[in-house]
């Protein structure tokens, strides 16, 4: 069981910095097609901010912000977004993940359709990576039994 650091300095500084780290993670996801980064990197930063919550406060606090149920829902929601963006192209008659064809159902030209398709892929990857990283971290710090760890 992970024990909280009873340390006021780390708590206060993490309290001030965690929202900015989360905002930076979302920024990296949202600008993945124009600058370095993308879904995977942004998801890792978001997961790192939750790890910081666990380190600075404690496990129940992190669970209160981001419960196990939400985590499971997010990890499947990301795959859902990714797969449906791909299948939508397949259903419209192009290859899997060939976003240009999306201009048939979106009111934009093929270039912009490619842009938005890539963006939705980034969002899906980001959500899944964040959820899986958080579950991996929780499994590691509690030795694989974090449901019991919550009860004590």
């Amino acid at each position: 069981m992970i024990t909280p650091l009873e340390n006021i300095i780390i708590k206060t500084i993490c309290r001030l910095l965690i929202p900015f780290i989360q905002l930076f993670g979302l920024y990296v996801i949202a600008h993945g097609h124009g600058s370095p980064g993308g879904g995977f990197q942004g998801g890792c930063i978001l997961a790192a901010s939750f790890m910081l919550v666990v380190v600075a406060f404690d496990l129940p606090e992190a669970k209160r912000r981001f419960s196990e149920k939400m985590n499971n829902i997010f990890s499947s929601l990301g795959v859902f977004i990714y797969a449906w963006t791909g299948w939508m192209c397949l259903l419209l008659g192009a290859n899997f993940l060939d976003y240009g064809i999306l201009s048939k159902i979106l009111p934009v030209n093929p270039v912009m359709a490619r842009y938005y398709g890539m963006f939705s892929i980034e969002v899906g990857v980001g959500i899944t990576v964040m959820a899986i990283m958080v579950s991996l971290f929780l499994d590691l710090v509690t030795g694989g039994k974090h449901e019991e760890a919550l009860d004590e």
Partner: protein
């Protein structure tokens, strides 16, 4: 090369050189001090000032080809790195030393008395 560019370059060179000088002093102290409590003095302080000075210099140089909006935004981003490090650097230093102290390691001293009351009575 206008006179403004020359002045800007000189300021940037001075700032970055001082930053690197403090980095070098921190590294030398990191090698020479006797235990890790003292080594933390060298790295924690000198690296913070080194990052702040170098970031200031780099942020100034980012403005060297005109005050366009993109340049100003890049410069503000670099200053954000400096502010982040200004908050985070001392905290990381403190966290490492706190964990070392809590695991029961006492610092290297000359007279063997590790903890003394202050101010002395």
């Amino acid at each position: 090369m206008s006179i403004l560019t020359v002045v800007l370059n000189i300021v940037v060179i001075v700032l970055i050189s001082f930053g690197v000088f403090f980095f070098a002093a921190g590294t030398v102290g990191f090698l020479r001090f006797p235990d890790f409590y003292s080594r933390m003095h060298a790295t924690g302080k000198c690296d913070t000032l080194g990052v702040v000075l170098s970031c200031a210099g780099i942020a100034l140089y980012a403005l060297h080809d005109g005050l366009s909006l993109g340049n100003i935004l890049v410069s503000l981003k670099i200053m954000f790195i400096a502010v982040f490090w200004f908050l985070g650097g001392p905290t990381a230093t403190h966290a490492l030393l706190n964990s070392a102290f809590n695991s029961g390691i006492l610092p290297w001293t000359k007279d063997g008395k590790a903890i003394i009351e202050w101010p002395p009575k």
